[in-house]
């Protein structure tokens, strides 16, 4: 599937639209589509603001039991996250946000995998399954 750039606010909007299209096509309910698009918006903004830009890859996946889902991978080459537990804590923010972006995005999806090392960027893969 296509790799979408995250370089501007317009790119964040485009990623939301792409995720919405793929999620609808995969049979996710309207509420699940909305949750996934919202999570994608948080993570794309994080990659832009904290990671200095990056890419998003949106694809359809099928589980072992035959369920459809949507997987989104976000990658940035930013400074990375030094303390993952802290970054995933509700209310903790490195900037002037509410600190709900990362922790909130994790709550909105079914699978959430974060890989980050200081100095080596951050990669986050999320999956939302149809019910």
């Amino acid at each position: 599937m296509d790799e979408l750039p995250i370089r501007s606010g317009d790119d964040v909007v485009r990623i939301r639209q792409q995720v919405r299209t793929v999620a609808a096509r995969s049979g996710l309910s309207l509420v699940d589509q909305t949750k996934l698009v919202t999570a994608a918006s948080e993570l794309a903004r994080n990659a832009l603001v904290h990671g200095g830009g990056g890419t998003a890859r949106v694809e359809v996946v099928t589980s072992g039991s035959g369920k459809n889902g949507v997987r989104i991978g976000f990658t940035d080459d930013g400074p990375g996250i030094a303390d993952l537990d802290l970054a995933l804590t509700d209310g903790w923010s490195s900037g002037d946000g509410l600190g709900l972006g990362l922790s909130g995005a994790r709550r909105l999806v079914d699978e959430f995998e974060l890989t980050s090392k200081p100095g080596h960027g951050t990669s986050i893969v999320v999956v939302k399954w149809s019910r």
Binding site: V13, Q17, E42, G97, G104, R107
Partner: protein
């Protein structure tokens, strides 16, 4: 960047968000509304989000801030038309939008502002 128009009807400012909101647009809306409130002395702001497909933590925070800013101009903000899926997602995200009043639709929002609801 697209801008969200602000309409003044009587003592109320109406904002209907019809675009896919990017961060810059919602920050601009905040500034435009503050200027309109100062210039017109409007007593209420109605923000219609019927067409808004998602509200994430940034957009939610900006909407809550619009409520706080309005209060400094002695005006009340009512958020109307939130989609059910957006309400569920916002709650799960952990955003309460405390401080912003809500109504089911623009008509009920206006009634709330006029004290007849």
């Amino acid at each position: 960047m697209e801008r969200v128009p602000i309409l003044k009807i009587g003592t109320t400012l109406f904002v209907s968000i019809q675009i896919d909101l990017q961060d810059e647009s919602v920050m601009r809306l905040q500034e435009d509304l503050a200027e309109e409130l100062a210039a017109t002395g409007a007593r209420g702001v109605i923000i219609d989000i019927t067409a808004v497909e998602i509200v994430d933590s940034f957009i939610g925070r900006m909407l809550a801030m619009i409520g706080s800013i309005s209060r400094l101009f002695d005006a009340e903000t009512v958020l109307v038309g939130m989609r059910p899926a957006v309400a569920i997602t916002l709650t799960e995200l952990g955003l309460s939008l405390r401080g912003v009043r809500t109504a089911l639709n623009a008509e009920k929002g206006l009634a709330l502002l006029n004290g007849s609801a």
